[in-house]
């Protein structure tokens, strides 16, 4: 007889959602989090899209600690001298609020509270050391000299899953599976943020840039998200490119981004509140391990469930979706009285039909495009050159766009054949 129906390791969006859903169906659930309080080890590098959360808490928008709803999206390129961006605002975003900027200590605290209110035993400030096994089946968790037993263990450890790797439930992490995320949160008044970004009534902006100013094949994306009275500015760095170069410091890329001539003014006068770093899952569907086994399920970032196509980034939403699916599987097991492998396999079925896995399959190999030299070197340079040709007044007779484009193409010195191949790939994958 196990002490708990289920033990959840990690109280992030995946774990706390799983615990809450199981507990509200009457399961005896233990949720263990090493951070004290929950969220204090976590870093939000994106926007919380609420489709999944609304399945758990229909009134989440009223009670969750949200910073600003996203009313405009910016996608752009930064070169040494230029800022090229598309700034998209539409009434639709304001009417149908779907995405919010969040800070994780607040959000995760709220999620953990919800799990506790639903009846889970929530323990914070304790690091789980490993899993307890019996006859090739996970039967609980180990901490110090103790073993706590359960019929199921849900692993929701985040992007650096020590237990899943340590217990051989998933392969170690490679250069293409993750990227280095670094973030700075800068304090400014709500009013100053509204003025600088042309926002009002709780509206916010989410901006993502390709950092075309980086040299020697080093590739990184930059982001700016507005919170209530802070701005999150960060970079996501490709490890393979950084390794090949082996002379650029990751933290200097962060510095270069925030001191870029067209980014720095947004942050000017702001006081640095926090500097943080976290791995970002980038491996796509090929990085997703087997999601379940005898006595366990893997959820959220631990399972590599995260997605970016350069325009939309999904992480927390997928995590919540997988947490719900794991919970529904556990509830089904409990009701049927069987925790056999074929019962746990239900989790895999649920996930196969989920938006997360569908998106990731649909965009298989997208990271090859989002991290391509085309996106990080060619497009920024080419766009800068074309726009200079179009808008820079030289006093000479105007040229036609085609002429400018061909000239710019030459200027970038990019191989045409490669360009056609990569361009085709870009259109196809995105």
């Amino acid at each position: 007889m196990s002490e708990f129906d289920a033990i959840v390791v990690g109280a992030g969006p995946a774990g706390a959602s799983a615990a809450s859903r199981m507990a509200s169906s009457g399961l005896n659930v233990l949720l263990v989090e090493r951070g004290d309080p929950p969220g204090s080890k976590n870093v939000s590098g994106g926007i919380l899209w609420g489709q999944e959360l609304s399945k758990l808490y229909p009134d989440w928008e009223k009670s969750a600690p949200l910073e600003r709803f996203i009313s405009n999206k910016v996608t752009g390129f930064l070169t040494d001298d230029s800022y090229i961006g598309i700034d998209f605002r539409t009434k639709k975003f304001e009417k149908e609020k779907t995405g919010y900027s969040v800070l994780r200590t607040k959000l995760d605290g709220w999620l953990a509270k919800k799990a506790k209110d639903a009846g889970s035993t929530v323990i914070t400030g304790i690091t789980v050391d490993g899993l307890a096994w019996n006859d090739k089946r996970v039967v609980g968790i180990k901490q110090g000299n103790d073993i706590i037993t359960s019929d199921l263990v849900v692993l929701a450890e985040g992007a650096n899953p020590r237990i899943a790797i340590g217990e051989g439930l998933r392969p170690p992490i490679g250069d293409h599976d993750v990227a280095i995320g670094i973030k700075q949160v800068v304090k400014l008044s709500e009013q100053v943020i509204n003025e600088r970004f042309n926002l009002r009534n709780g509206a916010g902006m989410a901006a993502e840039f390709s950092l075309g100013f980086l040299k020697n094949g080093v590739k990184a994306g930059g982001f700016l998200y507005t919170n209530k009275d802070t701005i999150s500015a960060g970079v996501v760095i490709d490890i393979a490119g950084l390794r090949k170069d082996n002379s650029t410091y990751s933290f200097n890329i962060m510095d270069q981004f925030v001191s870029h001539p067209y980014i720095a003014p947004y942050l000017e006068g702001g006081q640095l509140q926090e500097y943080s770093a976290h791995l970002v899952c980038e491996g796509g569907i090929d990085y997703v391990p087997k999601l379940y086994g005898n006595g366990y399920m893997i959820t959220g970032d631990s399972a590599g469930l995260s997605f970016s196509n350069g325009m939309v980034i999904q992480g927390m939403n997928y995590a919540i979706a997988s947490g719900i699916a794991a919970a529904d599987t556990a509830i089904r097991c409990k009701n049927s009285g069987s925790y056999d492998l074929d019962q746990i396999a239900y989790y895999d079925n649920l996930m196969k039909d989920s938006q997360a896995i569908k998106d990731m399959k649909n965009f298989r190999g997208i990271s090859k495009v989002t991290w391509s030299p085309m996106v990080h070197e060619f497009i920024p340079k080419f766009a800068e050159s074309v726009l200079n040709g179009m808008f820079y007044e030289t006093g000479e007779p105007k040229k036609h766009l085609m002429e400018i484009a061909l000239g710019s193409l030459k200027e970038t010195g990019y191989d045409r054949k490669k360009l056609i191949i990569e361009g085709f790939r870009l259109m196809r994958k995105m």
Partner: protein, 90 residues
């Protein structure tokens, strides 16, 4: 602001009794690249007079070094409960 100044705004509960990350000095001594020094966002890995110097106290527990070291020198565990980095915003 340099990296040391940025790290100084952070709140840590340092565990003096347990280094959650350890490196193998014999491997680091002959390492041809020392990529960890470039990858680590908290500058915990530094080359001082050609020798690798590692301090776990500034670690923000991102896991980058575990991926970055391709020579198997980095042993990475989570700090014990409640110890280590304590983000107040996240």
């Amino acid at each position: 602001m340099n990296i040391e100044e940025k790290l100084s705004v952070l709140n840590y509960k340092t565990d003096p009794t347990y280094a959650h990350i350890t490196v193998k000095p014999d491997l680091c001594e002959v390492c041809p690249d020392h990529f960890c020094t470039f990858a680590c966002p908290a500058s915990c890995y530094k080359l001082i007079d050609g020798k690798l110097n590692f301090k776990y106290e500034d670690c923000v527990e991102c896991g980058t070094c575990f991926v970055a070291c391709s020579h198997g020198s980095v042993n990475w565990t989570n700090p014990k409960g409640g110890q280590g980095i304590k983000y107040k915003l996240g």
